[in-house]
């Protein structure tokens, strides 16, 4: 692998990301799957880096799930998005950052459609006015939350208490980075690093001390989609895609996976359980599987937040082996305790994949 070749491509796809004053919108499902991720994002950017990130309680879903599952038409989803933009305009912002990668893809797609078909934009403006009496401006900059963490990765590295390094051997951790399909596959110029070798997560991993692995199915979809898993009979297609990725990354012996989408880490995490229970095969060492994280969780880990405050107990694949590798202290007995130390019940453990 000639690293300079990749660096040259990264340098061709530089994205302009403003440094301050962002309007933040959350994701529908991310908070359920990865409870602390969005809170961590705000915590890091507001309190650790000191930026102005604004969010309003009036904002809604972008409509992506419904749109991609074909339950609402394009005009509806464009009007929903127009309302989101109207909230941004009313709050006085022009930089828009979203938490979900499907949202990011959808916002990019809608803005591009409006640019190509101005009459469509005019129609949506009219729809919004009729429905809510709101007006909107198109954001000057659209970014994904991982773009912002990428932009401030060096500031985070400076404040970091831990690094992505095996503290016993001193070797960097081998990290698989997985980018959500909607990030740069549709519009390569809108993603940091382009479509073939995206750099947004690779940059974070490198600043925080890890080593990025390039394996053959690196750019393959995790299989989330929407239609293919909503109906139970279709889920075989989804799990096969994830299976293909894991078979491909296995020889490279990764220590962890970092992702920037709500759905991808969910599938990469949960499907390891399904594959283990169906076929008996686990990936990673000693039958524990390969732990999957969102980038905010990784940022929180390197900055020294308590793993259980980061919601890592909701992960299917055990994270404790990785925490041990990184030398992060944690209390195993507190894992399933709620607020004020209340004892919550412990989950049953699966048969074929080891959990803690």
């Amino acid at each position: 692998m000639i690293y300079q070749g990749k660096q040259r491509i990264w340098s061709e796809y530089q994205k302009e990301i403003p440094t301050d004053h962002w309007f933040y919108v959350r994701s529908c499902i991310r908070q359920t799957f990865w409870p602390a991720s969005e809170k961590m994002f705000l915590e890091v950017l507001r309190n650790r880096i000191g930026k102005d990130i604004y969010e309003t309680p009036c904002h809604t879903t972008c409509g992506g799930i419904a749109y991609h599952s074909e339950t609402i038409p394009q005009e509806t989803v464009m009007t929903i998005i127009a309302r989101q933009f109207a909230l941004m305009t009313e709050a006085g912002y022009e930089n828009y950052v979203c938490s979900c990668i499907t949202s990011f893809g959808l916002y990019s797609e809608v803005i591009e459609d409006w640019r190509e078909f101005p009459e469509l934009e005019a129609k949506i403006r009219e729809n919004l006015w009729k429905a809510t009496k709101r007006e909107f401006k198109i954001p000057t900059y659209l970014a994904h939350a991982s773009d912002l963490i990428y932009k401030f990765r060096n500031e985070i590295a400076e404040q970091a208490k831990f690094r992505l390094v095996n503290h016993k051997t001193g070797k960097p951790l081998r990290v698989v980075e997985h980018i959500g399909c909607h990030y740069s596959k549709m519009f390569p110029s809108k993603g940091v690093g382009g479509a073939e070798y995206p750099y947004v997560l690779a940059g974070m991993v490198e600043s925080w001390g890890g080593e990025v692995i390039d394996y053959p199915e690196r750019r393959h979809c995790c299989g989330f989609g929407f239609r293919q898993y909503l109906v139970k009979a279709n889920r075989g297609y989804s799990v096969s895609n994830t299976h293909k990725k894991f078979e491909s990354m296995e020889p490279f012996e990764p220590d962890m996976i970092i992702t920037n989408c709500p759905g991808c880490p969910y599938f990469l995490d949960r499907w390891q359980y399904v594959i283990a229970e169906q076929t008996g095969k686990t990936y990673g060492k000693d039958g524990y599987g390969i732990p999957v994280f969102t980038y905010e969780e990784v940022a929180g880990l390197v900055l020294g937040y308590d793993p259980w405050d980061l919601g890592l107990q909701t992960h299917q694949v055990a994270v404790e082996p990785l925490l041990d590798k990184m030398g992060i202290p944690y209390k195993p007995e507190d894992k399933y305790k709620g607020l004020n130390g209340k004892e919550l019940q412990r989950p049953d453990f699966p048969m074929n994949i080891k959990c803690c």
């Binding site: 692998m1 000639i2 070749g5 040259r8 491509i9 479509a195 390039d214 394996y215």
Partner: protein, 338 residues
């Protein structure tokens, strides 16, 4: 004192045209920006379809330069029109005033790193046709050791909207077949694949070469374009394509992949076009008066073309055009000025 003619570009077209013009009694001034004459031809090993050595064509040319004033490592600083002449200033300080100007600036090889999905410049085992020719000529490179499975990818940077080149580069298909046979001679036990969209075997004996490749060399042809290349843990390549004739996607592990980089317009085309106020086509090559019987003359008076400056061509076509351009210049210069 015989008339001067300035010829820009010292590849086979420029050298051949210079020789013809000299034989017709003119003094050619041949300008070449690289340190040596010969252009791309000086970097080829053997030529299709018969495997003739490239230097057996080039060396006689280079030994017949008497009476030709040639300057290497020299570029054009400026060209201005003065009445019915061109005032040409060279970067070495010399200048010439001529009535006829011949552009034989040739082509640039498409930069294969632009096709990011093929990983040229990222994976060591991905090389271009030019790299392979260089290895055939006199090379030792680690990616060529112990090759058991290898492939050729046709149409890299040609017939490709994404690469910005819609044109077919004409010669890459037959070059791929030639190189496939040559590399099979070096590695007789290797399995060689050619991934093509169409096989353009238009010239004399090209079909025979194709047949020979299939029958005698056992080259396997897969109709389907390579979509992406990735690397496994020992540095071998995974190549993904579709076998369109069979209707299923394909995945092969390879030790070497050769990208057939196409012909792109030379970098000097646009600056010279602006200096001379001549047009280029949509594909970026110079636009002659027409492509049938005035392919060597420009619509602009006193400007002539020969070779790949006006589009992809084979070497025999280039050499023939050089002679044709020389005659066109001769006719133009003998026509009295009105």
């Amino acid at each position: 004192m015989s008339q001067n003619v300035v010829i820009i570009g010292g590849g086979p077209a420029g050298i051949e045209a210079s020789r013809r013009l000299r034989d017709l009694g003119y003094t050619p001034i041949l300008v070449e920006k690289e340190p040596a004459l010969g252009g791309h031809l000086s970097r080829w090993d053997r030529l299709f379809p018969d495997g003739v050595e490239a230097r057996s064509i080039l060396e006689p040319m280079l030994q017949d330069l008497d009476g030709i004033k040639y300057f290497t490592d020299t570029e054009i600083s400026s060209i201005n029109r003065l009445k019915d002449t061109w005032v040409v200033k060279l970067s070495n300080g010399l200048s010439a005033q001529v009535r006829a100007l011949l552009l034989t600036t040739g082509f640039d090889l498409f930069k294969a790193e632009k096709k990011e999905e093929y990983g040229y410049g990222i994976y060591e085992r991905v090389v271009t046709n030019a790299d392979l020719e260089a290895w055939f000529k006199a090379g030792a490179a680690p990616q060529f050791d112990d090759v058991k499975t290898l492939g050729f990818v046709h149409c890299v940077g040609s017939r490709d909207e994404k690469a910005g080149n819609r044109q077919c580069s004409k010669v890459c298909c037959v070059t791929a077949v030639k190189q496939a046979c040559e590399i099979k001679e070096k590695f007789p036990d290797a399995t060689v694949y050619c991934f093509y969209m169409d096989l353009r075997m238009f010239g004399r004996k090209y079909e025979d070469l194709y047949l020979k490749a299939q029958k005698d060399y056992g080259i396997r042809f897969v109709r389907g374009r390579v979509s992406e290349v990735s690397e496994d843990i020992d540095g071998h390549l995974f190549v993904k394509a579709e076998d369109t004739l069979f209707g299923k996607p394909l995945k092969i592990k390879m030790d070497l992949l050769v990208l057939m980089a196409g012909m792109a317009p030379a970098a000097s085309t646009q600056p010279l076009a602006r200096m001379l106020n001549i047009t280029t086509g949509e594909d970026g090559f110079y636009q002659p008066q027409n492509l049938i019987d005035s392919a060597c003359t420009s619509a602009r008076e006193g400007v002539f073309f020969a070779g790949t400056a006006t589009g992809p061509k084979t070497l025999p076509e280039t050499i023939a055009e050089a002679g044709s351009a020389a005659l066109a210049i001769d006719r133009y210069l003998k026509t009295p000025v009105k």
